[in-house]
Symmetry: C2
Subunit: 292 residues, 2 copies
């Protein structure tokens, strides 16, 4: 029986319920995180935890359990027998249930916390062959830096992309590419790695940070700057990053093939570096367990 | 015991629950309406109903009960003994509960419908004396024409306004005033009535439509155009409109007094015309009941 985390308890998923007066349901008044478990560790847990703390602070939601976030993710995997698997943990905290009014409840009510874990199969074909994506106007709000559940602009745009057979869509705001509906986007032009700088128009992804760190160590020149929509097809390579899919090469945009239509050299190099990093973490953990 | 409407049934409010996997909770993937009951009629029910149908269509949510919306609102008042009162009915429909993925569930799942009714006391003082408001950057998404529950930009902005002691905040996008956090905004300059034209940046309010219709009948010149932020304090009069508060005069913006700091002549005229319209509807209903 699948167990989810709800307000401090593990309950059967089909028994889990929240009030329809929850501000998460009425106003999208909540935040979330998704962390990926690699069978023996969460990648970037510290960064996910830090971002969750920031999101809660920006929204002025006081979740008393926030310091226990990593342990709560762990125990949810354990209770579902997922500790040895590849898995994702989704964690959401809302401002809680109260009579509907735009203003935050005063005094505050108890926040609602909900999490579930699921086994995860990485999309190996997408990484190997690359994916087709589309562009879409960035209709989202101006606080994309907060990982909130106010995601209607993301879901509507992604749905339209999927209906066109696309893997993802990248957003254009004021003429420049910001990010994708649930990934960040990187460009390679010559020997430069280019991505949108952190701002209120993108969610600065944890995997985005990992890729930038790997590239920096490799001496790859990084340019954190906006790419104009009309420069898009002049890019040598394009790839997406996210917690669930790590690095995904893009081989066409809006039906226009990029380069040779196969994942580019620099993208493949960054994928290899990511795999090396993961292998190194796994080796360290195995070693530590042997010493124990 | 207060009853709410939930997926076709009347249930006690404290027993009402939805799944935390509801897309309303996870993605703000839902729409809503608020209708006002004047003790014997809903004002603008036809228009609210039409807007709900449009919102659902824009979001591709198929709610089978949509044609019964007016009756569902009525019966919720009755079951709560509110038929003779001033009341508000809040009605929300989401895409329903499904395993979390940005894409819409395919095949679709049953939508979730939730409604509650509450007795309503109009804020007479606000209407009589006028209110102080502030300006705020319009951080909302670019589909404000859909009455969705993706309202985090509205609530965050309203909360900040309230903390400054303000009654409402009006939004500035690209240098012009769009609307308020949960009202439309009108300006009077000379003999002209000015308000933002319908667009993807405003929700075209039902009360907004009623005021425009009343003004048109009175021969007041209407200009549907954007007002620039820097022209704001040059306006002779400013007022807000919404379903719950009808017409509310604004007497100061960001601490700057407008005119004499009391509700202006044209605003008071439009308030009187609204009251005449309501009185006429009430008289018609009384007459009809007498004939029955």
């Amino acid at each position: 029986m699948e167990k989810v985390y709800l307000n401090g308890k593990h309950v059967n998923r089909e028994d889990a319920s929240v009030s329809p007066d929850d501000r998460g349901f009425l106003f999208a008044d909540g935040v979330y995180e998704v962390v990926r478990w690699y069978g023996s560790f969460f990648l970037g847990m510290e960064e996910h935890h830090r971002r969750l703390i920031r999101s809660l602070r920006e929204m002025e939601i006081d979740w008393p359990e926030v310091e226990h976030f990593p342990e709560l993710c762990h125990s949810l995997l354990e209770v579902n027998g997922l500790s040895e698997n590849q898995a994702l943990v989704y964690f959401q905290i809302t401002r809680g249930a109260a009579r509907r009014t735009h203003q935050y409840p005063n005094p505050p009510v108890a926040p609602t916390s909900y999490a579930f874990a699921s086994a995860f199969n990485p999309d190996k074909e997408a990484r190997l062959k690359g994916v087709a994506i589309s562009t879409a106007p960035d209709i989202r709000w101006a606080r994309c830096d907060i990982k909130s559940v106010s995601l209607l602009g993301n879901t509507m745009s992604f749905q339209k992309a999927r209906e066109k057979g696309m893997y993802e869509c990248i957003f254009i705001r004021n003429g420049v590419i910001t990010e994708a509906s649930h990934s960040n986007v990187f460009f390679i032009k010559g020997s430069n790695l280019i991505t949108h700088p952190p701002s209120n128009h993108i969610l600065s992804g944890i995997t985005r940070g990992i890729i930038l760190e790997l590239a920096r160590k490799e001496g790859i020149r990084i340019i954190e700057d906006a790419v104009h929509a009309e420069e898009l097809l002049q890019m040598d390579e394009v790839f997406l990053t996210s917690t669930s899919s790590e690095v995904t090469p893009v081989i066409s945009i809006d039906g226009n093939q990029l380069g040779s239509g196969t994942p580019g050299e620099m993208t493949r190099r960054l994928i290899a570096l990511t795999e090396d990093k993961l292998a190194a973490i796994i080796a360290t953990i195995k070693n530590a367990n042997r010493i124990k």
